[in-house]
Structure formats: structure tokens, C-alpha cells
Symmetry: C2
Subunit: 272 residues, 2 copies
């Protein structure tokens, strides 16, 4: 760094600009009782107190091991928010997939000030009931079907849990990303236990996509994709709930992308 640059930085005043805040919001998805659920917190403080929202908060400065103040990376902040709001420890987060979704910065989306929110998408296996974090009055897994989302990100009138800010838009985007990711990545396995059966994996696809799949063709297809799943050599304890043989158990394979992909059956409408 040259002399001129040093002088510039010494004279730079970060507070000379309009204040903007950067927040993180997490769309955390899991499957409970055969339905797709999203983690919601009930706001315990203004603004929009009492409404439901995606877990999140402002990006902070954290202290590292030596106690020094250190700003937080975005991914790091998202993992922290998720851990705080779900009450899971960091080691349990290892089995959670977390990726950036998008940034939202429409003027007026937060009444306090200009807030740009970086949204994250999380895929989690079955998790314990969350405990409410610091700013939240309550935290629960909520079936997304109960939120009355329309295709455009609005909520149908009469829905009991109204989402704060533009969170219904963020959730809608997250759901579409999740549905799309199941097509060409192996991420469906992150919704499953460490060992799972092909029918369980199929249930993940059916739940996220919201449509039934042909059991026989799905089975053959999953096994034909190199690296998607890996046999454990064992079988499940029980057969299907209403009968049927015990299914073989599999582990996630080493493939990140699926080739060929598993495409959703009914996408004809949304092509144009």
C-alpha cells in the first residue's frame, strides 16, 4: 500500500454516508411428519412485534478466541443465526447445508432504516423443536403449506401466521431454489438421517416438489446416477408402514452434481 493510499484511509470517515444496515435472514427447511417445514420466529420486539419472521439479525462484530474484535463473514453470520435460533450446537450444524440465496434491498422493506438483507437457504435433517433465541418470543417449525403462499410471494388473506417485512417473498424464492436444487444436486440426502432408504429419499423429493413420483422408476434412476448414494449393505428394521419388505439402507455418495439430473415431471407450464 503506497503513501497516498495510507493517507486516504486515515482521512476516510465511514459515517459520512447514509446509514445502511446489513442483515442476514435464513430460510431453514426440514421435513417433519411428511411435510416441508420452515423455521419461523415470532418477533418479540418492534418493529412488527408479534408477527412471524425468518430467523435472522444484523451482521455483528464477533470476538475470536483471543478476545479480539473481528467482523463476521456473511456465511459465518448465517450459521450463527441458525444456531442461535434453533438451539443446536455447532457440531450438529455440520449436517446442515447452508448456501447463500440472494440479497434483498427494496427501499422501505424495513421501517427503521435502509436494510439490505442477505438471505441464506438451509437444508436440515429432522431436528429437535427449536427454543426461542434472544429477540424472539417463540420459534417453531411451520409447515410451509400452512402459510398460504401464492406464486408471487404474497400470502393469501386469512392465513394465521403473517410474515413480517418481505419475508414471504424471500421464503418463496427459497422454496423455488430448493425445488430446483433437488433436480441437479445430491442435496436431498441432507434432509435424511445419515443412513436412509430409497423410499425415504423419494419421500423427500415428493415432499419438496409437492408431487408423487413413480416408485419403481425413481428407485432405478437413483441407483443409476453415479455417486448419488452408496450402499451400506444393511437393511432397515421395519418394512413400509402399511406392509412391504424391508428396504436397503444407503449413505450419501460423493457426487455433488447429479448426472443425469432428476427433473421435475411437471414443469411444462413455467417454461415460457
Amino acid at each position: 500500500m503506497d503513501r497516498r493510499e495510507e493517507e486516504f484511509l486515515a482521512a476516510y470517515d465511514p459515517r459520512a454516508y447514509d446509514p445502511v444496515a446489513v442483515a442476514i435472514d435464513v430460510v431453514a427447511l426440514t421435513i417433519r411428519d411428511g411435510a416441508l417445514n420452515v423455521l419461523l420466529v415470532q418477533r418479540g420486539a418492534p418493529p412488527q412485534e408479534g408477527m412471524w419472521a425468518l430467523p435472522g439479525g444484523f451482521v455483528k462484530n464477533t470476538r475470536d478466541e483471543t478476545g479480539a474484535v473481528r467482523p463476521e463473514g456473511l456465511d459465518e453470520a448465517a450459521a450463527r443465526e441458525l444456531a442461535e435460533e434453533t438451539g443446536v450446537r455447532a457440531d450438529a450444524l455440520e449436517r446442515v447445508h447452508l448456501e447463500q440465496l440472494a440479497a434483498y434491498g427494496a427501499p422501505g422493506r424495513d421501517p427503521r432504516m435502509r436494510v439490505v438483507s442477505v438471505a441464506y437457504l438451509a437444508f436440515a435433517p429432522e431436528m429437535p423443536e427449536p427454543r426461542a433465541g434472544s429477540d424472539a418470543a417463540d420459534a417453531v417449525w411451520t409447515p410451509v403449506g400452512s402459510l398460504g403462499l401464492t406464486g408471487t410471494g404474497a400470502q393469501r388473506p386469512g392465513t394465521t401466521r403473517r410474515l413480517a417485512f418481505d419475508h414471504s417473498v424471500i421464503l418463496t424464492d427459497g422454496l423455488e431454489r430448493a425445488r430446483s436444487k433437488l433436480e441437479y444436486t445430491a442435496l436431498a440426502t441432507t434432509f435424511c438421517a445419515p443412513e436412509f432408504t430409497i423410499p425415504e429419499l423419494r419421500a423427500v423429493y415428493e415432499t419438496v416438489w409437492g408431487e408423487e413420483l413413480h416408485a419403481g422408476n425413481f428407485h432405478r434412476k437413483v441407483l443409476s446416477v453415479p455417486g448419488f448414494v452408496e450402499s451400506t449393505g444393511t437393511t432397515s428394521e421395519r418394512g413400509g408402514r402399511r406392509g412391504g419388505p424391508r428396504a436397503r439402507l444407503y449413505r450419501p455418495g460423493d457426487a455433488r452434481l447429479l448426472h443425469p439430473a432428476l427433473l421435475r415431471p411437471s414443469r411444462e407450464e413455467e417454461i415460457r
Copy 2:
């Protein structure tokens, strides 16, 4: 809004938090002389003065038609930055595709302060040589091949145009997004003139993907995807540069997504 919420907002002090800035950076891609080019500006002021960077800047408050101050949406800010740095007027921007790429917020990525940058990706047809905007010493279309990008987003030593901040990472992400988008969307046509031939469209794919495609199979495949292109009934003025018949001219069709998709031939390596 209830009483309590009003009181809260009146007492809220946005400057009580650590200052953060939100910037926009644009990865603007076009094809010139058969090579993929990205728009770069040479920084005319510290920090990193003299280095090359993606066009961008801080999100501002703008004045609307009535002269009232109004904060800017992110998409709006990206379009403004692109227009300012390329010197194209808003109407020419209509033929440019602009989409959000990702947010970048690693601590220390900007020496001035905490900066979270929302990156955008733009696909443009052939455009005039840009004129340098306000903060830039120069602005040029640069072949991406000349930037010595490695797979991880670093630049090879000895590259003449070094990119400022983490812009080589952003550019690498933008290139991968562009390559991927050509597979399943009809966006390749946004690199072309309003009327184009199938061989011209093939050149777009070959340039962005960096590999040669089979002319005959590509031709048949493009015509087989419903809504990808639409015949104009006319033919080009000239044949191929070194001989061959005149090609028929097409317009972009009404499809947004390609079904079936045009997949890159050589993705075997990156699957795991």
C-alpha cells in the same frame, strides 16, 4: 402500525451500529471479436488506485421525478452503474439482461470499512467502446482470457490487469453462472443482434463455454427446442466468412427456459 411501534421508530438511532456500506458491482459480459469480454474500469481514486475493477459503486439515494429523495433499489442501482460506466442510455439497456449474482461480505475485502457488495451479472449484445465514468480513469471491454483467472478465482502471476479487492472471485462466479445459464435458459440470444443466424448463436455458446460444438447437431437441437428461436423468413446477406451458403435469420422466441436443455459436453470432471 400501533402506538408502541411508532414510539420505537421515533427513538431508533440508525447510527448506533457499526457502520457498514452496501456497494453494487456489475459483471458485464459481451462478445467482441469472437472472445468473451468483461467490462472493467481503472480506479481513478484510492483505495487501490490504478488497479482494474468491476464497474460499481455505493448504493445511493436518488431523486425521483418530483425531486424528492428516494432510496434506490438494488436492481435499479445496478442498472444505473452499468449505464454510467458504459455510457449507454437507458433505452439501449433494454436489450441487456441483468440479474443478481450474489452478495460478498468477507471481512477486510475493502480496506476502508465493512463493505458488503451485491454483485450483478449482465449479458449485453455488442456495444460501443465505453467511456470512463466519474470515478474511473478508464473503462474498457477486456477479454476474460487475458485476465489469467484460475479455477479458484485467483489471478495467475504476471497478468497485466490485476483486479482490485475480491473482484477476480466475483468475476469467476459470474462466468460460471453465465456458462450454466446458457444451458437451461434462452439467454444466449441476448448476446446477439435482434436478428441472428444459428451459426452466430452457436458461436455464442462456443465462446462462453470455451469449447467447439458440433454444427449439425447444434442446429437441429436449437430448432427442436420449442420457443427458443423464431424464424424471420429472411436470410443473411453473406455466407460464412470462408465460404458456405447464406444462413437463415431468426429472432429470439418466447421461451425463457429451454426444454430440453442444452448441456455442456464436458462436465464429467466437475460432478464430484
